[in-house]
Subunit: 352 residues, 2 copies
Amino acid sequence: MTTRAPSIRDVADVAGVSTATVSRALSNPEVVSQATRAAVFAAIEQTGYRLNVSARNLRKRETGAIAVLVPNLANPFFSRILSAITEVMSGAGYNVLIADTTPAALDDHRFPEFFRLNQTDGLIILDGMLPRDLLLHRGAPDLRAPMVFACEWIEEIDRPTVTIDNRDGARQAVAHLLGLGHSRIGLVTGPVGNVLTSTRREGACEAIRGAGIDLPEAWIYDGDFTLAAGVHAAARWHAQDDRPTAVFCASDEMAMGFIGELHRRGLTVPRDVSVVGFDDLEIAEHFVPALTTIHQPREAIGRAAAQMLLQRMGLSPSERLYGKTPKLILPVELVARDSTGAPNASAATDTR
Amino acid sequence: MTTRAPSIRDVADVAGVSTATVSRALSNPEVVSQATRAAVFAAIEQTGYRLNVSARNLRKRETGAIAVLVPNLANPFFSRILSAITEVMSGAGYNVLIADTTPAALDDHRFPEFFRLNQTDGLIILDGMLPRDLLLHRGAPDLRAPMVFACEWIEEIDRPTVTIDNRDGARQAVAHLLGLGHSRIGLVTGPVGNVLTSTRREGACEAIRGAGIDLPEAWIYDGDFTLAAGVHAAARWHAQDDRPTAVFCASDEMAMGFIGELHRRGLTVPRDVSVVGFDDLEIAEHFVPALTTIHQPREAIGRAAAQMLLQRMGLSPSERLYGKTPKLILPVELVARDSTGAPNASAATDTR
DNA sequence: AGCGCTTGTGTAATCGTTTACAAGAGGCCA
DNA sequence: TGGCCTCTTGTAAACGATTACACAAGCGCT
């Protein structure tokens, strides 16, 4: 009844060869003769043999899995990146472990496990706000399992990275607003301490100030990339007497939260204020109004990160340590839709 | 330099005990004396020892991982469910492998691997459209690794299941529209062959016909849960001379696609047509207009599925085989927002 | 003193692969 | 015939944990 799953031993017996030969037929077919190879495959078929990965991993001193550390699994931004990563990785024979870094999981004693070679063969990190010392000291994964950053990164940690040109994206967003005639431009930013927040903010500020325009502190609304943050920013915008005619939100979710809240207050976009997002989520195009935003090639990001990790895993530790760490920066483009328009002269000036 | 990672052997040597004792101190602390336990932990600390999971798994004949089969990782509906699953599972010491079943991955020879005990200790299936024979014959996972269905399920396969009350959800949606005075109600359905499609459709039809109202075939627009399907349905709706004043979409994505497309054509919701969705995605509340929809407790679904799997994994194969298979049906509720309103008399009757 | 029980520890087999090494079988050539 | 390759295959030692079993020590009791 509870008959043990067939092992390589059983296959060997059926095929009338040694286990070594079976193993070779599987992993290195060209070294075994045509005839035995056929016999082995027939035996595999007959016994219903499946490789035991734990045994293989133990022997080969690897795990056959990589981990992806994502700041928030529930955020739709990451899902497409993840699916691209898993696609590439499983094509290469790896399993993908997805770990959400949101909760107090960081204190969790089992968390550092991920950083040890014996849990994963590699790491893709999508969360730039992980405690630096966790990545550096605790498990010193750098020397063992290779890791690459994607989307976000950590300044102090020099590792292969694939990102988009955040600064330029922000610049394009602002340029678009300037081109429409806006000169009163506000910003909804990401969380403090995040590299995306700072690079996008800097890009936007550069573009605004570069146009000789002033950017009052009061027009910088800080957020955290979430819908709720957009709602909150809208409330603050609405409460101001002197407010911008356009805002650049550092994420689509914030842009949609912003627009949704405004709508609830009886205002309309882009009539009362123009809004640009960042990310180009699936839904952006279908939002009402369709969202003008910066398109991120999310699939390409995931794919590139996976391939970069694969490449790193193929390197010896010393090559990895002393070689150049590649940094890939993908270009982004603004896609103009319906949430932006020319400024409405009457709307902006309630008081002055 | 490339000094081997410390093994249980090294710890044993440092602590001056046998490997068996170290193992026991770790997995069964109460059987070793206070003194040696302390010595072992000190040695672990000193050597920086980490358990090798492959070795443990090989010996214990388990994998320490479960797999989740999701129809479309990029769909935001699943992300929160996944995060709940991973939370519960990693709390219980399991890794979670997420596999996207969308592409031709089914033909992929490595796919059936998931069904063998030696890849995972259990399976959560979110995809009700997997080929039946894959789950039943190929690897006969039922006897070995336990599996549970969540959200979707497969009629012919009797396994533990956690779902929501789809029929009742659809009924509530229609009841809401009836209550607003609509008598011309259309449906945008999911893909054919999907259990969610049929149950929701049946629930809706029952409610409509139960109210003594007719439901013309032409008012049933078939979709597949995606934004694009909603867009397409909107086009068909718009092209009709005689059309419903309200539609119930079997997913929020379709509802938003529908509304977005209508808006692009110069129509407004709910003035020109009322729309109800299903799912209550994060964004629904922030959509313009805020979406009236059926709320799904996604976190609860994920959590329940994980707990159910955990419970099943604790059972012996025969208990699993001959015991009752639990079915959990979570209640749902309509949340009324701004995408529905009383029918607009002028809008509905172009021709008659 | 001898017996039995409890408690703590060590010995060694085992899980299912991979792979270094050895060795047998031909083939080719001097 | 003997030496030297090349091509296949088998033998057996890892890989790093877990655990059944045995056994030693300590204790209380008769």
